[in-house]
């Protein structure tokens, strides 16, 4: 319990840090965003939009600590301001419409990559020097060296443009009514395959190598020799004895890699024009929609922190040593 509370405190501090960063960035950055914004939009902004922007950028006369308290209060109560590019929709509403797609894409890709990578790692370590162990790692390291988005571009070109197997953009076909119909769900699935596949391809190597290296260390433990001496089936030793103990670092990196996957998903979303938060973040940056940008950053951060906290709880369940401390 103490462990959980400590972690919770840590995540709260991390979240507070990102809120503060959000607060300070527009106020202390060199140059003046309001004039930059004016120059770009060439005076086409509504007075209300300007007002929303002023409020966000801290162009008011109150002392800074008062603004800060106000800002914290707003964030905690879920008020992230009003989007400028989609005026007058509140930022939270824009984000709510998009976060589901990112969770779908990132979540699918992450789970598949983690399960597949760990399985391959287990097998590679178990049969050291075997086919999987000697052939796959170099290939996966090489594929993993490619930038996420470039692989996505290549896949889009090959399977989308040339072969025509997969749809080119968006999360579902235009004109299709979202709903729980078979037609819609299969369409969403078809649009998901290619983006998810590129993320899996790039990230599976890291999982595999990590698992392989811990598993090699675990395989030389005495209890494995003991299990073999008892004549247990190899499959049982492999999964119940060796892999189970080698899993712990993988569980930790599952939490850590969430942030990475969000980033990777972001680039992939841009290539496939997939309507998730990453794509929206880029559109917000291009449209100089600072409130939306900040809201998206906070949302993504919060999601990553919450996921990490869940992983911590799982960790306590898995590792008795953490509980006893």
């Amino acid at each position: 319990m103490r462990f959980i509370l400590r972690r919770l405190g840590f995540y709260l501090i991390a979240f507070w840090a990102s809120i503060t960063l959000n607060f300070l960035l527009p106020r202390f950055m060199p140059g003046d965003p309001v004039s930059r914004m004016f120059a770009r939009t060439q005076g086409k902004m509504q007075p209300e939009q300007l007002d929303a922007l002023r409020k966000l950028l801290g162009v008011d006369d109150r002392p800074i600590w008062e603004q800060y308290v106000d800002y914290l209060h707003n964030i905690v109560t879920g008020n992230m301001g009003i989007s400028i590019s989609r005026f007058p929709t509140p930022v939270t509403e824009v984000i709510a419409g998009q976060i589901g797609w990112t969770l779908l894409l990132g979540g699918t890709a992450l789970v598949i990559a983690a399960v597949l990578g760990n399985l391959l790692g287990i097998l590679a370590a178990w049969r050291r020097g075997g086919t999987i162990d000697s052939a796959l790692p170099p290939i996966l390291i090489f594929i993993g060296s490619f930038p996420y988005f470039w692989l996505a571009m290549g896949a889009l070109y090959l399977f989308g443009v040339i072969l025509g197997w997969a749809p080119l953009r968006h999360a579902f076909s235009d004109g299709l009514e979202p709903g729980f119909s078979w037609e819609f769900i299969s369409d969403v699935g078809a649009h998901l395959v290619l983006p998810a596949l590129t993320i899996v391809l790039v990230s599976v190597g890291g999982w595999m190598l990590g698992m392989r290296n811990t598993m090699i260390a675990t395989n030389s433990e005495d209890y494995i020799t003991m299990a073999e001496a008892k004549g247990l089936r190899p499959g049982r030793i492999m999964f119940r004895y060796a892999a189970r103990n080698a899993m712990l670092p993988s569980v930790t990196s599952f939490g850590m890699s969430l942030g990475f996957v969000v980033g990777g998903a972001m680039l992939t979303e841009v290539v496939f024009a997939y309507p998730g938060v990453g794509y929206q973040l880029l559109t917000a940056v291009q449209g100089l929609d600072y409130p939306l940008m900040q809201g998206l950053f906070l949302t993504i951060t919060a999601a990553v922190l919450i996921a990490n906290f869940l992983v911590d709880i799982l960790y306590v369940r898995l590792d008795p040593r953490v509980r006893s401390n």
Binding site: F10, Y11, I13, A14, A17, S18, N22, L25, P26, M29, G31, P33, R127, R128, G129, G130, S134, I141, F142, G144, S145, F146, P147, Y148, F149, W150, L151, M153, G154, L156, Y157, V161, L168, N213, I216, N219, E228, P234, M256, G259, F260, V262, G263, M266, L267, V270, V271, L281, L282, V285, Q286, M293, Q294, L296, F297, I300, T301, V304, L305, N308
Partner: protein, 318 residues
């Protein structure tokens, strides 16, 4: 049988007192990686002589396929893709190396200070490190790049801000284990200054980890720069691999079927990253005996079926 003879030969080669450098020189992975890397550095240095003039000059020879005249074809704006790619290596390698060295340096400072001073300093530095590790990298990059004025300097600064934490954490844990060794305690007792102990006593003993971290940071720098520029958040006026890809996407090279515009730059990023990873894994192998070539595959005899028995031979010949 070759599998049995091979390890003994290797053992004789790696006698003690031959350090990391020698180990790397005899390691195939390291040599392949270093060769690729050197070729790219040479290309980057020779770019102005190989392709004189401004590579991004717009001509009327738009979207040509690869031909003897333009080896890699031309872009929609009539720029020679090969010239763009070779010139692009300058910015990409420069930013990658700068970011790599700078974030490793910050990582060393933070990690050593954490491990050496301990207590409150360690607690607070670790907290900051962990917060930076947890904040999702690319969104943070994007939001920083969006607020700061555009330019190459901004890209470098932003990449260092988001990249140092990983190295700090790794270096701290290594420094911690060295901090508890007797010779460090001896140095403390003999009254050496803190800076001297950190940089002369502790640091040299973690050279291999520092090297691994440095390589990882360079890979990160090159990849993250490319990602940032691909999103159009870099300095779009410079020629770099990321910007080449940004323009390729912008000009619709994908949809018009001009694969030769976006393939080279991505391939170059991947090759450099691959070369660096190869060196990185080689450093791991040389310094961590457990990962070196198999002594006698544990329990392999019991598990590996007859069909798989031929594979070890292939792995030995590489």
């Amino acid at each position: 049988m070759t599998t049995l003879i091979e390890p003994t030969v290797e053992l004789r080669k790696t006698k003690p007192k031959q350090g990391l450098v020698h180990g790397l020189f005899t390691n195939t992975k390291a040599m392949v990686g270093a060769t690729i890397l050197l070729i790219f550095i040479a290309l980057a240095l020779l770019a102005p002589f190989l392709f004189p003039g401004d590579p991004s000059r717009i001509t009327d020879m738009a979207s040509l396929e690869p031909s003897p005249e333009h080896w890699l074809g031309t872009t929609a704006k009539g720029q020679d893709v090969l010239a763009l790619t070779v010139h692009g290596s300058r910015s990409s390698l420069l930013v990658g190396l700068t970011v790599g060295f700078a974030s490793t340096f910050v990582g060393i400072l933070v990690g050593l200070a954490s491990a050496y001073f301990g207590k409150f300093i360690d607690e607070s530095l670790s907290l900051i490190t962990n917060v930076f590790l947890l904040l999702p990298g690319l969104p943070l990059l994007v939001i920083l790049a969006a607020f700061l004025p555009p330019g190459l300097g901004t890209v470098i600064v932003v990449l260092i801000i988001t990249g140092w934490a990983g190295s700090a954490r790794v270096l701290r844990s290594q420094a911690l284990s060295i901090r508890s060794k007797d010779f460090v305690a001896a140095a403390v007792v003999s009254g050496e200054r803190a800076g001297r102990i950190m940089f002369r006593e502790i640091l040299p003993n973690m050279a291999s980890i520092v090297m691994g971290t440095l390589l990882g940071c360079v890979i990160y720098g090159i990849g993250a720069q490319a990602g940032l520029e691909f999103l159009g958040l870099g300095d779009t006026s410079t020629v770099s691999w990321g910007n080449n890809l940004f323009w390729a996407g912008n000009e619709g090279a994908l949809l018009t079927g001009s694969w030769w515009v976006f393939v080279p730059s991505g391939l170059c990023i991947a090759l450099v990253a691959f070369a660096l990873s190869l060196i990185n894994y080689a450093v791991d192998e040389v310094t961590n005996p457990r990962l070196r070539k198999i002594k006698a595959p544990k329990s392999a005899a019991a598990v590996v079926p007859a069909t798989a028995a031929t594979t070890p031979e292939r792995s030995v010949t590489k």
